[in-house]
């Protein structure tokens, strides 16, 4: 039986304590035009809940897709020089974010760990507000359906308006139908707009799918 050097074993054992040695701590995940989206940007978006609730963003891929779309929209918003949002609104949003952390120390640690500063976070939020305002102004009115369209939607989607096995009367659900149809249209318009932006821009994604 071969004897294994105990010294070697000891070295291996000590080395095991540092198995976490070379770790990728940050990297490029995508390039949108000339703007880079990094792994730390994805972490920041997750940590500070910067992804809108309506957007499905569970995995790194989802958050990355959101950030790529955000950058495409931001480039368009910048072209039209959309005005900066009011300071009071930004103050409120920053306070909301801070309140999600148990204390100031945890908040500071989160900033440090995600390559963020208070100033840059505020800028990111300001840009998000500009994007929201721009999208509302551009697609808000266009997405509004006519009464005939709302009625047609109601008739074509009975399952949505069925309560306790009965189709609710149109008058009772008209507002809901209008909101749903407007929201669907808005999503479709925005998706179409994003497709056009993506075709115009140069978007390169480096993240391996499935992560």
């Amino acid at each position: 039986m071969r004897k294994t050097s105990p010294v070697l074993l000891a070295v291996v054992a000590v080395g095991l304590g540092h198995l976490a040695g070379a770790e990728v701590i940050d990297r490029v995940l995508a390039v949108v035009g000339s703007q880079v989206v990094t792994l730390s940007d994805v972490r920041a978006a997750q940590t500070f809940a910067l992804v809108p609730a309506a957007t499905p963003a569970k995995t790194t891929n989802d958050v990355l897709a959101y950030l790529v779309n955000r950058q495409l929209m931001l480039s368009e918003v910048d072209r039209y020089s959309a005005p900066a949002p009011a300071s009071a609104l930004l103050d409120r949003r920053m306070a909301q974010i801070r309140s999600t952390f148990p204390g100031a120390a945890q908040y500071e640690q989160a900033l440090a760990g995600t390559a963020m500063t208070e100033g840059r976070l505020r800028n990111v939020i300001a840009d998000n507000v500009r994007i929201e305002t721009y999208v509302d102004q551009r697609f808000g009115a266009a997405a509004q359906p006519t009464s005939e369209e709302v009625q047609r939607y109601y008739l074509e989607h009975p399952a949505v308006f069925t309560r306790d096995g009965r189709l609710a009367p149109f008058d009772d659900v008209q507002v809901q139908a209008q909101e749903r149809l407007a929201a669907e249209r808005r999503r479709a318009l925005i998706t179409d707009w994003l497709d056009r932006l993506r075709r115009r821009a140069s978007v390169t994604t480096l993240l391996t799918p499935g992560r």
Binding site: S5, P6, L16, I25, A112
Partner: protein, 981 residues
Amino acid sequence: MRMRVPFLVALLALLAAVASWAQSPPPAFSVDQFLGKSIADVRLSIDGRESRDKEILRVLETVTGAPLTAAAVRESIIHLMALARFDDVKVSAEIAPGGVVLTYDLASVHSVKSIEFRGDLGLPLRQLRSAVVDRYSASPPISRAEEIAAMLELLCRDHGFLKATVRPANEVAPDPDRTRLVFDVTAGPPARIGTAEVEGAPGGNTGDVLSRLGLQAGARFDGLALEAAVVRYTEGLRAKGYLQAKVEPGIRYSPDREQVDVTVRMTRGPQVSIAFRGDPLADNRRNQISALLREGALDEDVLENQERSIEQDLRARGYRDASAPFTREPRGDNFLLIVFTVTRGPQYRVAAVELTGNQQVPRAQLQLVLRVAQGQWFVKALLDADALAIQELYRRQGFRSAEVKASTAPLGSDPTQLVTRCAITEGPRTLISGIEFERVSALSRIVLDQAIRSKVNGPYYQTQIEADREAVLFQYQTRGYQQATVTVPPGMSQDGARFNLRFVVAEGPQSLIDRILIVGNIRTRAATIDRALGLQPRTPLSFLALADAQRRLSALGLFRRVQVVPLERNSDDRRDVLVVVQEAPANSIGYGGGLEGALRLRMNAQTGLPEERFDLAPRGFFEIGRRNLWGKNRSVDLFVRGAIRSSDQFNPNSLPTTSTAPLLEDPRSGFREYRVLGTYREPRFMDLPVDVIVTGAIDQAIRSTFDFNRRQVYVEASHRISSSLSVAGRYSVGRTRLFNERIDPKSQLDVDKVFSRVRLSAFSASAVRSTRDDAFEPTKGTLAAFDGTLAPRAIGSEVGFVKGYWQGFVYRQLSALRGAVLAGGARLGLAFGFPQLVVNSSGQTVVLEQDLPASERFFAGGDTSVRGFALDRLGAKSTLDQNGVSNGGNGLVIFNAELRVPLWHQKSLGGAVFIDTGNVFAKVGDISLGELRSGVGFGIRWKSPVGPLRVDLAWKLNPRTFANGTRESPFAWYVTIGQAF
């Protein structure tokens, strides 16, 4: 027992390691375990190979010895990607003795050297390649390979290869610049047309429709070709008058995508004719409307637009009540007549213009903005415009609620004579009671006051206030306050008479330049780049300053690419500026050739007399230069040009000559004209705003009167005062030798007899102001230039003189003549020789009064001075010998006028008509405008690929007879490159 101890140690170590894993809380992110630790080392790995590239290390924010922060890592990634050298950057960290070792893994951008296609291509190779190159360039980034493959796949499917697949198979070479982009194409079988049907074919003739659309059962299906055929067919139907024709193909694919059934649904509609009834319309207007209607789909909007257009045209000519409604008049099922019934009505004229209600603004001021005038045809649109102009004038003066109502009324009994009335309701006037700037600390009140135009006690004008707000914001942005905002809150007094103008500023942080990082320079010194940039650390960062810096750097001419970009920082107030340059090749080589044709004076071997003969001279040049010497934008250049000229002497009948023509020094044809120039150029000599050029030149040229050979050295210092104005000073010294003089010896000047070789040493000064839009093909602007020379004997000149030459040219585009250009010019030359006593070849002492050597005297005539005359053949009688050969003179006057017209909508071909007039006078005192001689003519201009070619033919007005009895040739023609002036 001995063997158990080492094993115990190993076991203990293992347990300790496991314990340490168990005890430390898992980090939120893997980076957390490294944050705050000292950076022990920073390593680079480019494409898997270790590197110590200083240029790259310079842009990193993570520094050995400093604590590791995530922000510094992220910034470093941003900086590296900004270099545009890498496709991917990964940063990994590992704990090492002394802290953290960071490794930057960089993947170089692989520049594609070639694009290849493999497999079953389906489409022609050229078509696939041009689809890639047209959209992505000949060297697309490898990162877009998937996107390109998707585009090619779509292209194949559009052309009928419905099962085509395209996959990229990049062959990345170790050398990043030798990557091949390869696409594996599997086009598959092209889809075939199964069935092809037509619904609504005119006259049931489905065969004709299918034939025109290229649809035949069994034939290859091509979706794009079908689309193009549908467009052509529809346009053809519309050209025949079926203006409502619609053709829509419906396509059904078989499950296996190998067969396509096409159903074409078409409605031809009736054949449409356009007719005009009622009052006449000009023919060209009718044709224009008919052509417009044929261009697009004929629908209600288009017809209403044309109706409005006709009415507007007529109303603009005083037919106030003009109408042109259209009606549709079907003629059976197959014909439709669209009729515009034009009713002009009476033509109205403005009999008088009245303004009422103006109390605070004098009428004289209001009249300045009026366009309606008594006696004009009445046009309501003009009257409405006047009302708006008056209202705007009031608003600018603070009458913010001023209103103007326009109306008309007949004057007397003639209803077509109208009095126009503008009734003004002035309303109260609002003045600015005060101007305040709130929350301002960074800029002084003086700076902000100077930026705005609104004044205390000045009029309140909303548009001006908005412009002032932008101006205040601009002051902040140019000083680095990129996030500044400026608002103007309401400030109107209760009675509306006063407005307190407040600019509320949120300054935000000021961004300052931190470090200036220069990368990409190999030969060029960083100091040269720094100086051109004009940026300084710790100065405000403004995008205007960066754009200026980029422009100045590009203007050096040393770089193929220049980029000046601010880099993100985690702290918003300080930013690094990254300057990326790609140097242009240091060596340049140029060469070219051409042909010059012009009338030239040559000696007739038979008669011994000079005669004008057309001479075609091929010429060529070669130039080699090297720039960026010693990293400081210095350059050296060698330029050589030569022309092959025929002999100065010709024998018209090829008989043995018996003439007593003067012996020519070199009667053979050959390279008898040449120029060799060696130039050294140093911009910003000794850091002064002056460029210095040192030139050595050897010239030999043939003029009409003589040939000359000149060797000269000159030093010139030039300074560009502004974008349009530059000045220069020069010292030159050289020797000029005349030979092959064609002037009659009896008429030769003493200065030329004594100084056939002359040394000249001279100071010169020049100033040029050019506002031309193009130096070679100007269409607008002016050029004014002055050149003065002083050659005193005291500094070594064998003949002393002073000379001045003024030129002025103006160019105007005539939009009324489809972009024709009217060009005009004037030139004046005055020279005075300093008197001196010289001894001639016969030993006699002669006085040179005011004579200059021949090489310095003025000559005129030729393709760039006065056309109609051969080169240098123009002169007043006192300057000509008995054969009409000019001695040149001390005075020169030339005027030119030319109309350049594009021909037949072809911008590359143009024509010109011109008149040139001028003369050369022996002495300045002899200048007389009554003795100017003129040439008129026309020419053709062609913007060839090698430059603007010009052929001119000009006639002399009043050709003369010389003293020897020979008559001047009445015309001259020229073939050359470039405009005459």
